[in-house]
C-alpha cells in the first residue's frame, strides 16, 4: 500500500451485538483528502468513524488506518486520530478553557495554541471561563472543536460537526477543515445537510452498511 493512503478499508464488516452495522465496506482515502460521508439514519456512518478511530473492533475484512493494521493492534491508531463523536467528550465540571488546556497538556501544545484555538472558534472570555456543563449546546460543540484543533491530529474524524453550530461557526469550521487538509491532514466527516456536501471535493454515501456511491464533486474541487 502506498504511504499516501491514510485509510484503506477492504470488505469491512463490523458487528455490534450481532448486528452488522457495517456489512462489507471497501474504499480508500488518500493523505490530505477532504471527504464527506452521507447516508440515511442508521446506515453505519458513526460506526465507520469509530472503527477508523480504533474504538470498535473489526469483525471481518481488512483495515489499515494511518499505517496501522487494525486487525493487529487497533489501539495503536489512536495517537494519530482526532475524533469528534456525537458526544463532545468534555468534562462538564471544568471550564471550556480548562478542557482545551487539558488536551493541550496531553499532546504537548502551548498556551498560545490554546488561546488561538479558542479565539478561532469564537469562544470569548466569559464563555471560556464557564463550566462546560452550563454552556449552550453550540458553545459546547465549539469547545470540543477547539480541543480538536489543539490536538493537531493526522486524521480528523468528525461526526456531524455542523449540527448545533450557528452560521458563523459553520463557516469557520469549513475554513478549519480546509486548512487542516492543506497542511497534510486527512478529514472524514459526516453530515445530513445537502448544502454542506456541495462544497466538498468527494462524497461517499453509505446505505445498509455498504458503500452506495463514491463521487467527486466538480463544484467542490473548483471552489
Amino acid at each position: 500500500m502506498a504511504s499516501d493512503t491514510t485509510i484503506h478499508l477492504s470488505n469491512v464488516v463490523v458487528a455490534l451485538g450481532g448486528f452488522p452495522a457495517l456489512a462489507g465496506v471497501t474504499f480508500g482515502v488518500g493523505r490530505g483528502e477532504l471527504v464527506a460521508l452521507r447516508g440515511a439514519n442508521g446506515t453505519g456512518k458513526s460506526t465507520l468513524l469509530r472503527l477508523c478511530a480504533g474504538l470498535v473492533p473489526l469483525t471481518r475484512g481488512a483495515a489499515v488506518v494511518a499505517g496501522v493494521d487494525l486487525l493487529v493492534n487497533r489501539v495503536a491508531v489512536r495517537p494519530h486520530v482526532g475524533l469528534l463523536g456525537h458526544r463532545n467528550g468534555l468534562y462538564g465540571d471544568l471550564t471550556a478553557k480548562q478542557n482545551v488546556q487539558f488536551v493541550a497538556d496531553l499532546v504537548g501544545a502551548t498556551a498560545s495554541d490554546v488561546s488561538s484555538a479558542l479565539e478561532r472558534l469564537g469562544i470569548d472570555q466569559r464563555v471560556a471561563s464557564t463550566s462546560a456543563s452550563l454552556l449552550s449546546a453550540g458553545q459546547r460543540r465549539r469547545t470540543a472543536l477547539a480541543a480538536l484543533v489543539v490536538r493537531r491530529a493526522q486524521l480528523w474524524l468528525l461526526d456531524e460537526p455542523h449540527a448545533g453550530l450557528d452560521a458563523a461557526a459553520r463557516r469557520e469550521l469549513d475554513v478549519i477543515l480546509r486548512d487542516a487538509t492543506a497542511s497534510g491532514a486527512t478529514v472524514l466527516y459526516t453530515t445530513h445537510e445537502i448544502d454542506q456536501v456541495a462544497g466538498t471535493p468527494r462524497t461517499i454515501t453509505l446505505d445498509g452498511g455498504c458503500v452506495a456511491s463514491d463521487v467527486a464533486s466538480t463544484i467542490g474541487s473548483a471552489r
Partner: protein
C-alpha cells in the same frame, strides 16, 4: 492444554459436544463416583468423635480442591487469552466454562461445609478465617461471572474478565493459608499439613483421594462440554452473521443515491 486442543476439533464436527474422549471421561467419572459413594457410606469407619457426619468430608474436601483447580484453570486460560491475541476467544471460552464449574463446586463446598458445621458445631456458620475467605473467594467469582454476563463485544469482555480472573486467583493461597495465619476453629490442614503428618487412616485417605479424582473427572467432563456448547453457539452466531449481512445489504432506503 488437552482441553484446549479438544476444542480445535469443534468447527468441523457435527453439532454434538461429546467425543470418544469425553465418553471415556464420563464413564471413568461414573465408576469412580460409584466407588466413592460405596466406600464413603459403607467401607470407611465412622469417626470416634464426629460419628457418621465425618462422611461429609468425602464430598466437602474434594469439591473445595477441585474448585481451586477450576479457578486456576480459569486464570491460566485467561493468561493465554490475553497473550495470544488471535486465539483470545477460544481460551476465553475455557476460562468461562471453568469459572462456572468452579463456582458450582465452591457452592457445594459451602453447602456441605455448613451442613457439616451444623452437625458438629451446631451452627451453619462460624466467623472463622477459612470460612470467611472461602465466602469471599466464592463472591469474587460470582462477580467474575457477572462481568462475563455483560453484553459487550466478546473480545472486550474476554479482556476484562481475564484481568479479573488473574487477580482473583491470588485469593486462593489466602484461603489455604488462612488457617496458618489466624488461629482457627476450622480443621487444621490435616491432609496437607506442613509437617507431612497424615492423621487419617489409609482407607479414609484413599477414599478421599478417590473423591478428588471423581470430582476432577466430573470437572473435566463439564468444562469440555460447556465450552463446546459456547463454541457451537459462537459458530451459530457466525452463520447467523452471514445471513444478517445479506439482510443488511438489502436494507436499501433509496433516499440518497
Amino acid at each position: 492444554m488437552s482441553i484446549y486442543t479438544a476444542t480445535a476439533a469443534v468447527p468441523g464436527a457435527a453439532a454434538r459436544t461429546g467425543t470418544r474422549t469425553t465418553r471415556v471421561i464420563g464413564v471413568l467419572a461414573l465408576v469412580t463416583t460409584a466407588f466413592v459413594v460405596v466406600s464413603a457410606f459403607f467401607l470407611t469407619p465412622a469417626d470416634s468423635v464426629q460419628g457418621d457426619s465425618v462422611r461429609i468430608m468425602y464430598a466437602h474436601v474434594p469439591t473445595a480442591w477441585v474448585a481451586y483447580l477450576a479457578f486456576i484453570t480459569t486464570a491460566v486460560a485467561s493468561g493465554f487469552s490475553l497473550a495470544r491475541r488471535h486465539r483470545t476467544l477460544g481460551f476465553d471460552r475455557v476460562a468461562g466454562a471453568s469459572g462456572e464449574v468452579g463456582v458450582l463446586f465452591m457452592a457445594m463446598t459451602l453447602l456441605t461445609g455448613s451442613l457439616w458445621g451444623r452437625l458438629t458445631w451446631g451452627t451453619f456458620w462460624q466467623w472463622d478465617p477459612r470460612l470467611t475467605t472461602t465466602l469471599f473467594l466464592f463472591i469474587t467469582y460470582v462477580g467474575y461471572l457477572a462481568v462475563r454476563r455483560i453484553d459487550t463485544d466478546p473480545r472486550q469482555r474476554a479482556r476484562r474478565s481475564a484481568v479479573i480472573a488473574l487477580l482473583a486467583v491470588l485469593e486462593i493461597p489466602l484461603v489455604h493459608f488462612s488457617v496458618v495465619l489466624w488461629r482457627s476453629l476450622h480443621q487444621e490442614a490435616s491432609v496437607l499439613s506442613p509437617d507431612g503428618d497424615v492423621r487419617l487412616d489409609d482407607l479414609m485417605l484413599f477414599t478421599l483421594f478417590a473423591g478428588v479424582a471423581a470430582f476432577t473427572l466430573i470437572f473435566a467432563w463439564l468444562v469440555i462440554h460447556r465450552q463446546r456448547l459456547t463454541a457451537l453457539a459462537d459458530i451459530r452466531q457466525t452463520v447467523g452473521l452471514d445471513a444478517a449481512i445479506a439482510l443488511r445489504r438489502s436494507e436499501t432506503s433509496g433516499v440518497v443515491k
